[in-house]
Amino acid sequence: MVELSGARALLVEDEGLVALMLEDMLEELGLKVVASAAHLPKACELATTASFDVALLDVNLAGQFVFPVAHILRARKIPFLFSTGYGGPPLEEEFRNTPAIGKPFSIDQLEEKLRTLLPRP
């Protein structure tokens, strides 16, 4: 089993209510949300400076695409999961094969996706 418990997470989600729920879900799964952002500039800053093991990224942040954050995380070799409102993979060719989860999703679906991301201990 992959250990989710204790993993530190960055949450990027522009809708406040959804962010609250995702934080609850992540914490129910044993993760700790150590940083969260609703807007791109703050998300980029946190992606660069914060310490965490995994990130959940909303693809569309109030009309801006989250891809700059994804580039930073890729450079830092931190795994991440897109949450997308588009009902499919991200529109950007470059990230077609990155794990993604379509909104809205259940806690079980989130858990399953996260397990594929985190390294086995």
């Binding site: 406040g16 729920m21 569309n60 409102g85």
Partner: protein, 465 residues
């Protein structure tokens, strides 16, 4: 006088038997003779057929009647005779006239007879249908030229492999490539490098399909912009040899259309995104409501009333077409939904304050939590309770914000304050600052709830967002 200079052995029309046979049987040719002044002296069956006069009708009369007036009439006939005498023969192609007045296009030859005093022989051949065909061809060529050089499309002719043999002036003007630079495969220089492969590949398919079709970007020399064009071509069906057939094609600028289509794709994706986000919000409302509901009935009541607030906010957003929403409208819609019929209990006051569309939903839900709470435990549920909602607009440095104050009074607060922090507190104290960058204070004063929300407003320039 000429006649006295050339006295006179009058030679008759062909008297040799062979010549007579030719004369008689050449029905495709009108052959007739006239005296020096154009008076008919013989008239063959071909002349009867082509010109409509019977031999006995015309003999002894002027044959000049076959020159219609628009061709110069008798004058032209006389001129032709002068020319034949001077040159030894007069050849022409012109309109001639039948007895019934209709015209025929004839190629004619007038020669003086060996004995000049005997007059002339004229031979006419009917070329009307060839002449009409040539005229039609010239007309259709002219039509093509006018069309090809005046329609906004760029027109070209090419071989079946895409090698151009002609391009319209518009092509040269648009692409900046001269005629010489465009023929062969030179025209490919104006095609976007990324589209050239597809452009050429389409020629390979074209022959099998009988049609060439591609959408590609063509460089406009005026400003260097690559503009989307739709290029089609079809073979001209004039030769049975498929390899020899020329193709004619047009290139139509569809740039604006493509841009609109791209924009529509973006809008559709955005719509999809919003719909999914809304589902996410509903899911979040359901989860958070479950957590604070002691029973299924409680859940049903709270969830329905929160969905109501969400749907009112969506309604206002739909009306405003996602432009900023007046804070006052949002406040009043929420208070009215809670049916505080006693107008004296509630007072709202504040200036115009455009709330960005993106903030409206969370603000509406926050106001809803305050109002629901006021109905259950506060100013809207107790006879002595009063509620004042006021807001003001502050401009400091780059940002405008509204300071909303929700002040309840005359309320007997439950012993020891609220039992636990509910969904409303979480929304106001965490979600609003997180999502909207709002600053919020929520206090349970001895005489009622006091809440202050400072929320950024839409800036003047960005009201269309």
């Amino acid at each position: 006088m000429q006649e006295s200079n050339h006295p006179t052995k009058r030679s008759a029309p062909p008297d040799n038997e062979l010549l007579r046979l030719v004369f008689e049987s050449a029905t495709d040719f009108a052959i007739f003779t006239t005296d020096p002044n154009g008076i008919t002296t013989s008239w063959n069956p071909g002349a009867e057929r082509l010109l409509g006069y019977k031999t006995d009708e015309i003999l002894g009369k002027s044959a000049d009647a076959i020159f219609p007036t628009e061709e110069g009439g008798f004058e032209a006939a006389a001129e032709e005779r002068r020319s034949a005498l001077a040159q030894g023969r007069a050849e022409d192609e012109r309109w001639q006239m039948r007895k019934d007045g209709t015209r025929l296009w004839a190629s004619g030859l007038l020669m003086p007879l060996a004995d000049r005093d005997a007059g002339f022989v004229k031979m006419l051949r009917d070329r009307t249908s060839q002449h009409r065909a040539a005229e039609q061809l010239a007309q259709s060529e002219e039509l093509f030229r006018v069309l090809a050089t005046n329609i906004p499309q760029l027109v070209f002719r090419s071989k079946g492999d895409g090698e151009r043999i002609w391009a319209s002036p518009q092509w040269t003007i648009f692409s900046g490539l001269s005629f010489a630079a465009s023929i062969g495969l030179g025209w490919l220089d104006a095609i976007h490098p990324d589209d050239r492969k597809e452009t050429q590949a389409a020629w390979l398919e074209a022959r099998a399909k009988g049609e060439y079709y591609v959408e590609h970007r063509v460089r406009r020399s005026a400003d260097g912009e690559f503009r989307w064009h739709q290029t089609r071509a079809v073979p001209m069906k004039v030769s049975s040899d498929a390899d020899a057939v020329d193709w004619v094609g047009t290139m139509t600028d569809i740039h604006e259309l493509r841009m609109l289509q791209d924009r529509q794709k973006v809008l559709l994706a955005e719509l999809q995104h919003r719909r999914r986000n809304l589902l996410g919000v509903v899911q979040s409302l359901a989860r958070q409501t479950i957590r604070s509901s002691p029973s299924l009935d409680d859940f049903a009541d709270d969830f329905e009333s929160r969905l109501g607030a969400l749907s009112r906010a969506q309604g206002l957003l739909a009306q405003s077409d996602n432009r900023p929403i007046e804070l006052g409208d949002l406040v009043r819609a929420e208070l009215e939904a809670h049916a505080s019929a006693d107008a004296g209990k509630v007072m709202t006051e504040g200036p115009a304050a455009p709330l960005p569309a993106i903030s409206a939903q969370s603000m509406a839900l926050a106001l809803h939590e305050l109002a629901t709470n006021a109905v259950k435990y506060g100013a809207l549920g107790q006879p002595s309770g009063r509620l004042m909602v006021r807001w003001e607009v502050k401009n400091d440095r780059s940002r405008r914000q509204a300071i909303v104050v929700w002040r309840e009074s005359g309320v007997a607060m439950p012993e020891g304050g609220p039992a636990r922090k509910g969904y409303g507190s979480e929304l106001i104290e965490r979600a609003l600052p997180y999502q909207l960058g709002a600053k919020t204070k929520l206090r349970f004063e001895p005489d009622g709830v006091h809440c202050e929300i400072a929320v950024p407003l839409a800036s003047e320039e960005k009201r269309d967002d």
